[in-house]
Each structure stands twice: as C-alpha cells, then as structure tokens.
C-alpha cells in the first residue's frame, strides 16, 4: 500500500466534506448575513433519521429521501419561524440563536436515537477501486465527485446566473434588491434550503463510511466554517479551500502525525485571516 496515494485519496474525501459543509454556510451567510451555527445539524439530522428509518424497515432510498426532507424542513423552519421574525435583532444575537437551535437538535437526537453512534448502508456498493497503491470505495468516489461537483455547480449558479446573483444581492443590500424586484425572503429561503440539502447530502454520502451521533452536527459546522473562513466566504473559493484543507489535513496526519493537525490547521486559519484582513488593518474599505 502506498501511503502518499492513500493520503491523497483520504484528503480528497475529507476535502469533499469540507466543501459540502462550507458552501452551505457561505450561501446562508451571503444571503442572510448570518453565520448559521446549526448548519451542521442538517448532516446529523439526515444521518440519524436515515439510520432510524432503515432500522425500522424502510428501504434505503425512501429513507434517505425522507431524512433529507426532515433536514430541509428543519433548516427552513429555523429561518421562517425563528430567525425571520427577529431579523432586526443584532447579528451576534441571531448567531447565538442558531447555536441554541443546534443544542435543541442535539437534545432531540438523543431522545430519538440515544447516545450511541448509528449508521446506515452505503448507497454505492461494490468492490473498492485500487489506484497506484491506494484504495477508495465506490461510496468514497461518489463523495468526492458529488462533493466537488455539486459545490462547483452551486458556486457557478451564484456567480454566473441571474437568480444566483439575485440571491447574493439580497444579502449585500436587501432594500435595494427589493426595489430592483428581488424577492429577498424567497432568496433567503432558497439559500437555507440549498444549504440544508448540501449538509444532508454530505451525511448521505459520508455516514455509511463512518457513524453519526447526536453531537456530530457542531463538529461538521466547524469543518464547514474553517473551509468557508479560509475562502473568505466566497461561494467559488470554498471549493478550493475545501480541497486544499482536506489534502493538507491528510498529509499532515500521514507525515507529521494527527497530533499536529489542529495546531497546523488553526495556524493556517490565522495566517489566512490576517492576510484577508490586511485592508482593514492597514486602511481601506474592502470586506473579507
């Protein structure tokens, strides 16, 4: 077995998860100006719900579809019934509310599934692919292809299409956007919806390779946040920061050891933050 090849494969899989989670966070941030700390809960809700439904005897595909719908319902409800009525509250308070929502979800998941991790079968099965001394399972290939593919598609949608640009305009200046005929509320709901589907898809593709429990959500939010922050909250950049982070994390783990992963990663995050804030620190008006 070739350690380098395996580290690259592992890095791509980790990177795909970063991209999946990061793009959802960026999307909500760019349309509603809220850092949604409950974003990773869509991953946990989908995973736990799918595991319970499969255990209850539902076939895999309907179980996954239903679980994604539950995650979608959660994200849309969070916006429609919790955040929107408080839209004039300070952003910091709203962020804390999303953190509170994340803890509520944790509690509900404990009640539903207990504290033990759960999982469900892979959607893509078959013999793992062996390339240049490395191994990747079919589900891993799907994770990488869909992770980067869907994230790229969302990035292109936001930056190249009319409705995507309307979504971004809704965040930059909601009043001006409304005057220009953009339905700001619908734009925000769309952002929460796409984010939830992406978070849920990450769960559908990753959880069969690992396991999920009630506390997986915040860890996933953190992953998404690191990728999003390094990209400067850019819907296109998050794809590249996801790939970079995944490969970087995997290489550090393989050649320096996992004990160095967090210090190196967070040092990198600080360096990037300093680089991105150079205009603010040294004068100017450019926003990160």
């Amino acid at each position: 077995m070739n350690l380098f090849t395996q580290a690259v494969i592992s890095g791509l899989m980790i990177g795909a998860v970063y991209a999946f989670l990061g793009i959802g966070l960026v999307l909500v941030y760019r349309t509603a100006r809220i850092l949604n700390l409950a974003h990773g809960e869509t991953f946990a809700i989908t995973g736990v719900a799918a595991a319970l439904l499969v255990k209850a005897g539902l076939p895999l595909l309907p179980a996954l579809g239903l679980s994604l719908a539950i995650a979608l319902g959660f994200a849309l409800s969070l916006h429609r019934f919790v955040l929107r009525p408080r839209a004039d509250w300070p952003a910091g308070t709203l962020i804390l509310i999303t953190l509170g929502a994340a803890f509520v979800v944790r509690g509900v998941l404990i009640l539903a599934a207990g504290t033990d991790p759960v999982s469900f079968p892979a959607l893509f099965t078959g013999v793992p692919l062996r390339i240049a001394g490395g191994v990747i399972p079919p589900q891993g290939i799907a994770l990488v292809v869909l992770g980067f593919g869907v994230s790229a598609a969302v990035g292109l949608y936001l930056s190249r299409t009319r409705s995507g640009k309307q979504l971004l305009a809704a965040a930059e200046n909601p009043y001006a956007a409304e005057l220009a005929g953009v339905n700001v509320e619908r734009a925000r709901l769309t952002a929460y919806g796409i984010g939830a589907i992406l978070g849920g898809l990450a769960g559908v593709l990753l959880i069969p390779l690992i396991a999920v429990d009630f506390q997986s959500g915040l860890a996933m939010t953190m992953r998404g946040f690191i990728a999003a922050a390094i990209s400067g909250m850019s819907p296109v950049g998050v794809l590249f920061s996801g790939i970079g982070l995944g490969l970087f994390e995997s290489m550090v783990g393989a050649y320096l050891g996992a004990l160095y992963q967090d210090p190196v990663m967070f040092f990198l995050l600080i360096l990037v933050a300093l680089w991105q804030s150079r205009h603010i620190r040294f004068g100017g008006t450019r926003r990160a």
Partner: protein, 380 residues
C-alpha cells in the same frame, strides 16, 4: 431524685431509639459522576444503567442493614471542571462514597479532591489511583490490558503490532502503556494517531498495517472506532483487527456487523464470556448479572456494564461489612485488607489500589454476533 432518674432513663431510652431509627432509616447517599450527555455519553449512560440496576435491586430487597440506597447522579458531560464541581457538591452533601463513572480527564480532575475521603470508585482502566488515596480502580489498568495483548501476541509468535490511537487523554494513556509493554517485550510497535474528528482512518491504517504486521490494534472507543473498522474493511486488510474494550457492546457490534473485517478481536475482562471462566462461583456471578441486565434493559450487557457491576459489588461489600461506611479511613482499610468477591475477585492492598490485573483480561473474538475467546492467529 426519683423523678430526675426517671427523666434521665426515659431520655436515654428515647435517644437510643432515635439514634437506632436514624441508623436504620436514613438512606445511604451515594454520588455518581457520569457523562450522560457530551462526547463520552455512551460510557456514562452504560455505567449509570449498572449503578441504577444495583440500587433498585438492593432497595427492592430492603436495602443494606435496613437502609435504602439513595443514588444521585451528576452529569459532568465529560468535562473535568464540571466533574470536580459535582464531586465537591457530593462531598458537601455527605456522600458515603462516589462512583467516578466518567472518562480519563474528569477522573484526573476528581482524584486529588478525595484526599480525605470519601471513597472514589473508578471503573476506567486509564487512571491508576495512588495507594495513599481514597480512590480505588475496579478495572484492570490500561497497562494490564496491553500486557494481555502482548501475551496473546507471544502465544501466537507475533513480534510486530500496528496500533491506531486517538489524540485525546485516553489515547495518550494507551500509547504510554504500549510503548512501555512492547519495548519491555522486545516487540515492534508501529503507531499512528487519529484525530477525534477524523472521518477516515485509511491513512493511519496504511502507515501501520504493512504486510509484515500480522495484528492491528485500535485503542479508539465510540464513533471513531467505527470509522477505523470501516476504513479497515475498505482497505481490504487481511490481518485480524483488535479493538479496545470500550467497544465490546451490542451497539458497536450492530454498527460494524456488515463491515467487520475477516477477524475482529477485542480486549475484555473474562466475565464477558462466562463459560470460559475457570471458577464456578465467578462464572455464576457474571452470568447472573448478564442475564439480569438483559432482562431489565432488553439489551445485552457489555464490558462497560460489567465494570459498573464490579464497582457496585465493591460498594456493596463496603456498605455491608464496614460498621460505619461513612468513616472513609475504615472503609479504605477494609478494602486494602479484604478481597472482594465479584465476577473477578478484586484484590486491593495498602500499596495497590487497582483491584484486577492482567489475569482477568481475555482476548475475545466476534463470532456470529457474539464475543467468544479468541482463536489463535494463523498464517505467520
């Protein structure tokens, strides 16, 4: 004078009655610090189930010496600061003893706080209490578990082990034990650490599981252990994979049953496989607990539940045999001088507060969903 004497006699009689009533009627307050939520919840809830089962069974039989058990659980969420606060609260409320049913970091925070009592019983293998403390460990230590792995390897003429350990405090303890034991035994240890947030363990496994390594050991517990098993299967590694004893649970088995490697081994106390226990009485005790637990909770008891029972057996012995269990010094002296019968006899001494040793550890193997004594490793 007669009146005074009568008054004194009546007062004395009334006083004696009141004292006796208090002695027999007042519940025995036992504090339990356990992570019922948070990352270690899977351990805390399992130990809590065993404690509750013991308290309910004992109370149903009328308590101990006429006194009911009052078990109060404080959820430390696996946080050392909260564990210390829970313990101080129990001390202030006069707990007779404390069940330290949390993980390494919390136990390390609690242990220095019981310098003058009460007894702190610890089912974790990762914290070895000093002999001058009031803490007693009812599990074989991590060093004992590692010695048992080395013994099994020796029996199978293996001299190299690939090991994956987490980057948390428990993983650190496992690494220290492994470095010591395998260096003493002149065996080669190939070690890779894995981050607690890891979603893939293939890189770690690729770096430790060369063709010359015939056994791979993962000291990881919980969701991370599942990640290691699944990555192991994906890589198609031919070696047997050994998992740590925190994973000897039905929940873990049901999660990995479709992705288990060709041979899945584990470290365990022998009580998990009663039919392999040499002493009939030990076998019966283990079987009685396993059956009772399955009946009460409608699930198979696991390693962690068993250690919970070992803890309550030690607690019960103290409560029954020490005339004043609130006297921590007397309780400590009793434990240091009396072997305690459980499914494995716990033997503490004034110089050793670990009740079990490597002889109580068994290397087990998963066969048809059940843990049995591990078969030899072939294909050397």
């Amino acid at each position: 004078m007669k009146r005074t004497l009568l008054f004194v006699a009546l007062s004395a009689a009334l006083g004696t009655f009141t004292c006796a009533h208090a002695q027999t009627g007042k519940p025995i307050f036992i504090g339990e610090v356990a992570p019922l939520t948070g990352p270690a919840a899977t351990v805390g809830t399992r130990l809590n189930k065993a404690s509750k089962m013991w308290a309910d069974e004992t109370n149903a039989k009328g308590g101990i010496n006429g006194r009911k058990i009052e078990l109060v659980t404080c959820n430390d969420e696996g946080r050392p600061d909260k564990a210390a606060a829970c313990l101080r609260d129990f001390q202030e409320k006069g707990a007779v003893m404390i069940f330290g049913n949390s993980l390494t970091a919390s136990l390390r925070a609690m242990q220095p706080l019981v310098k003058n009592g009460p007894l702190l019983l610890i089912p974790s293998p990762n914290v070895v209490p000093p002999a001058d403390s009031y803490a007693f460990q009812v599990s074989p230590s991590d060093l004992h578990l590692t010695e048992a792995i080395a013994k099994y390897m020796k029996e199978n003429r293996l001299d190299k082990l690939g090991m994956v350990a987490a980057t948390d405090a428990s993983g650190e303890v496992g690494v220290e034990s492994a470095k010591k034991v395998f260096s003493d035994q002149k065996m080669e240890l190939r070690l890779a650490r894995i981050d607690l947030r890891a979603t893939d363990a293939s890189t770690q496994l690729a770096s430790v599981a060369g063709q010359d390594v015939k056994l791979v050991y993962s000291s990881y517990t919980g969701a991370g252990a599942v990640t290691v098993v699944k990555s192991f299967k994906i890589l198609g590694l031919p070696q047997p994979l050994m998992v740590s004893y925190g994973n000897m649970s039905e929940a873990f088995v049901s999660l990995i049953k479709d992705v288990a490697p060709p041979r899945l081994l584990g470290t365990s106390v022998a009580g998990l496989v009663p039919e392999e226990m040499p002493k009939g009485a030990d076998r019966e005790r283990a079987r009685a607990f396993l059956d009772g637990y399955a009946k009460r909770y409608n699930e198979k008891a696991d390693m962690i539940n068993l250690l919970g029972r070992a803890e309550t057996d030690v607690a019960e012995a103290v409560l029954r045999k020490v005339s004043n269990p609130s006297d921590s010094a007397a309780a400590k002296k009793f434990l240091e001088s009396t072997p305690i019968e459980s499914f494995h006899t716990q033997k503490f001494s004034p110089t050793n507060h670990v009740g079990l040793d490597a002889s109580s550890v068994m290397i087990v193997e998963l066969k048809d969903g059940n843990w049995i004594k591990a078969q030899p490793i072939s294909g050397r």
